[in-house]
Amino acid sequence: MVECAILIPTLRDSEISDGEPHGVAAWQWLEERILERFGGFTIAPGEYPGIWKSALTSSRVSDRSKKYYVAIAMTKVDELRAIVREACVVFQQQCLYLSVAGHVEFIEPKAKKRRGNLR
C-alpha cells in the first residue's frame, strides 16, 4: 500500500473559471468517487495555504486547500490519477497536486477518448 495525498483548492481557478468557491456538490462528488473506488479516505486537519505561478499568465495565485489522504495498492494509482483528472474539471483547476508515497505530480485535465455516449 502507498499513501497518496490530494490537495484541492477551495476556490475555482480565476483564469480558466470564475474564482468563486465550489458548490457543495463538488466536494460530495469527490468524496463519493474516492469511497466508491477505494473504500475510504481521511482528511487532514487544518487548511493548506499555498502560492504558485500560473502556467497561463505567470501571475502568482494564492489559495487555501483541503488535503485528502488515500491509502491504496500501488497497482491502483492510475485509477486515483484518473479521479484527480476528473476533479480538475469538476473543481475547475488548471492542475491538481497529487503526492504518491512522497513523490509529487501535478495532474492536468485531459480530454477523454470518444467511445459512445454514455458510460
Binding site: 473559471s17 474564482g19 468563486e20 466536494w27 469511497l35 459512445g116 455516449n117
Partner: protein, 178 residues
Amino acid sequence: MSSSSNQKPRNGEETYVDLKGQQWNLALLDPEEHAVVEQLRLRARRNLNWFDFDSYRMKEIMTLSNRRRMSGKEIIASPLFQIGIDLSGRLAMAQGYARPDDYRDDLQILITSQFKSQRTFCQATGLSETMLSHVLAGRKDLSIQTLTKALGKIGYGIRAVPLPTLPKNGKSRKAKAS
C-alpha cells in the same frame, strides 16, 4: 447551520432534512451512529473551522465503518455519511468556503458521472461545446428554455428546490491573482 436541518415530523421522532430535501429519520440510527451524529451536530453548531470539522467527521465515520467492515458503497449510502457531508456543506457555506449549488454544479456532476466527455454530452444534448465551457466556468448562462430542451434530450429535467438558510454572518471569498 440551517434551521431547516432539524425538524420534528408528525410522529414526534426527530428527522434530519438535508440540503437536497431528503429526510433522514434519526430514530433509525443505532446508538453508535446516533452518538457520532450528535457529536457532528454539536461541532457544527459551535461553528468549528470547516477543515477541522471535516477531519473529525471522516475520522469518526471511517472508524465506525471499518469496525463494521462496510464497503465504500455501503458507507456512501449510510445516513451517517450523508448527514455528515451535509453538515460539512452547511458549515463550508457559512464560513465562505463553499456556495449553494446551482444548475452549473448539477450539469458538471452529470457530465462527469454519466458521459465520456463534454463533447459527448454536447452531442447528446445539442448544446455547443464553447457555450457549455463558458457556462460551466460561470461566464455565461443558459436560458431556462435552452436548458429544458437540452436536458430533455437525455431524459433529464429542471425543478425548483428550496435554498438553504445560512447565518447572516456567512462570508464570501473569491480568488484574486496578483
